[in-house]
Symmetry: D2
Subunit: 264 residues, 4 copies
């Protein structure tokens, strides 16, 4: 049996991350008595010692596949929990000091429109990352949500109105594996940090509600970013909190951006 | 000498387009007494008869390379002219009935800000396509320009203001090779079809000018699309004119879109 | 009640497509006794007469939302069927002559690895489009599948071996609404047209199987494209069949491409 | 004069990065007696104190615009030098503690094909970043180059050959502003780390040369990554060196990846 991977490499250098990027598979989650299905984009890496030429790539996939099969019986409740099981399985198949797995996916949330109270489904981008560093587990949860900014400077200066635009708010939380944080609550924090929350369905009366709200809450990207940080720091304890807002300016070809962090 | 390409294919089927996608190279143009440089993304295709297994891919690249070298001496004036020379050179190297080449690139335009009259450079996406069908030449010019839409319905309904957003207008013109049309003029038509034209640099007085203009010209994507069609049909003769407007709604997660065509 | 959309436009021009792009929602399908869930990217358009300023955008969303709610009771079996119901509902809410809806999504397929017979899940990109033109229905199904090409010319010329690369095959079928065609069968046709079919999980013995297969089936992109056309034309009747192959060359920075069509 | 930006924010939190993303402009460089033109994507940020509501975004653009105009007279020689001048100009217009600017662009390199010695132009992605932290300057140079990997494990196991694929190598160097490092030399290091260097133009004899080279240098992504680190550490002194290799596997749908770092 030929094991090229276990040979000595020409340059004996330790590598921080070796593994797989952009793998897609089907994952079922049973969370809060609802079944969720994800087709995430998965990145999975481990470190590689200086005396091994390569990792055994198929063992990553086997760890994922075997855990996903077990899950059908085991009824797991979150992407981070499946991620932890995959990295534990990988540790048995392939020795490492540090390893990580990241899931990029989407979550659909059922909502009511603000005035007409009609049903609407809102879909948001999320990332869930698990890191095992020498046995200690860190998780990183991220949500990116679309909203808007109405410029307070132009509103103060102009008689007719201000410029308004689509913006994307991002909240990333790094915390202990056991610190339970809902992605839906993170989405909620970001939505409440914009000039106005947006909806897929808006009847005329809903649209007026959203437009009025934008004029009542004129925000720079800096304001949105600080809003996310401020609300998050009250809600999410024992966490490193990172926030961003990117605004697709309606008066420019470029975007404006703000980024900050707090620790709780 | 082995010529696998000239063998009979297993399935004797004619193919419409065979060639190269996403090739990047450096091109110099001498247009209106200014030197332009492009690093375009190039697609180049020809048809393939049912009795040939494959095209000789390297002849596409040779045609491009040799023409680009000639151009240094020959001082050509447009991407469409270089494209024509490349397809003519290709015809000598590799028999075809129909062939096409497309350049995707950007053009920088020097402008003045609307009130403060400061210098600003605006960069726009363009495409130039040449088609040789059995000896007859068609060119297709396209420009995509960023601007904005201010919703006329919300403006009529709401007291406080309306929703405004970044939008992208696209104008595509299909015409004879000899019908001279400036990409800059196409950009100009699109910019004049939005609620307001946008700028990279805006001092406070310029920003007020742009915001006022948006409120004075509330447009749906349908209006922007029809504006492009209407202005173009007066300017560009003997052409198939296609227009699109895509608006990144500030009150929704999705985009709204309009598309139409006229012939002159 | 103000209805800006029903006013006369400044330029009385008919528009071919007006509507919504890049809308995301959650869709459940009951197909072959299995439940599928999609979070598709949806485009939905209708034509607009020359005497109407705009369409009522919220009626698109309402049509989608109401059909998705009905579906829970009605237990539908395909994206094309839901699409048909959405366009029929839209016709009641908003008069049109022609309309279309497109879903871009993914399908997971359970497979066994070729030699070790282990479970593996393979995820493929699909598009489903429905077109209602004055009451007549056309559907367009598309699958894009990853495989590879091993160059037959380099294999014939070189002693050591040939160049091999990842390639993407695309099959698009335009047919009557009632002509039942499985997306899984389309994926299968594309996979069998490559030098070798690829897998997410491959143990050493499976990897050898795939590598051997590539050397036994050296194909140009032209061959892959013709293979797709040839196999499809036997399987899928009363159809316009379009095939493409794009190969991410391992010896170049650019891609090579072939495209063809047949009618059955 | 209303200065909303200088008001107190609702939440007095310091922000790490506030500024502009995805700005495009035209830049001319005079380097090694050749004129280079870039249309880079520019990101430019500064920190924001906790007692200021916002930054003055137009001052970023003015700093860029004014420096680009000066440059015409001043004849500068690199993106990092222009970046330094922009951040110095910004410091005069808008107080900050830390600021950074990043240019994402492309460089064309003239080469000869390996055997037939024909002219070919190769275009590579680059990034240049300047960081001013309280007066101390750091620059980060990055190049991403396309090449390939031929799997050494499959070559050892299989009789017929191995799997080969397109790969992307990335080299990032963080160093003092005054440490002169050529982007072209960085590209060269990456190209020499692959199984074989690739070319836009290849005649049959060149193609054989490249195919042979791949079989003579079978490399995992781990090998390519270590090759980049090893060669770089000899060439580039007083630097933090980071290397990556991403391989678009021809036998899988996913990519494989390796990442490492050394300091010199």
């Amino acid at each position: 049996m030929i094991n090229t991977q276990d040979e000595l490499p020409k340059h004996p250098l330790k590598l921080e991350r070796v593994g797989i990027k952009n793998l897609k598979t089907l994952i079922r989650i049973d969370r809060n008595h609802k079944e969720y299905r994800h087709i995430p984009r998965i990145n999975i890496f481990m470190d590689l010692e200086e005396d091994k030429k390569g990792v055994h790539m198929s063992r990553f996939i086997e760890s994922i596949t075997e855990i996903l099969e077990d899950e059908v019986q085991m009824n797991h409740k979150s992407l981070e929990q499946i991620g932890k099981h995959i990295l534990e399985k990988l540790k048995i198949k392939h020795s490492y000091l540090s390893a990580e797995i990241e899931f990029q996916s989407e979550i659909p949330i059922y909502e009511l429109t603000p005035v007409s109270k009609k049903d609407t489904i809102e879909v948001h981008d999320i990332k869930v990352k698990l890191n095992n560093n020498n046995g200690s587990w860190i998780k990183v949860l991220e949500a990116s949500v679309i909203g808007n900014t109405a410029c307070p400077h132009a509103l103060a200066v102009n008689k007719k109105g201000t410029h308004i635009q689509r913006a994307v708010g991002t909240l990333r939380i790094e915390t202990d594996f056991d610190n339970e944080i809902d992605l839906e609550e993170m989405v909620n924090v970001i939505e409440n940090s914009f000039s106005a929350k947006v909806y897929t369905l808006l009847k005329t009366e809903d649209e007026s509600f959203v437009v009025d709200k934008m004029y009542e809450n004129p925000f720079f990207v800096e304001d949105v970013c600080r809003n996310i940080l401020s609300i998050s720091s009250k809600k999410f304890k024992r966490s490193k909190i990172h926030a961003e807002c990117l605004s697709h300016e309606s008066i420019h070809r470029h975007d404006v951006f703000a980024e900050g962090a707090v620790e709780t």
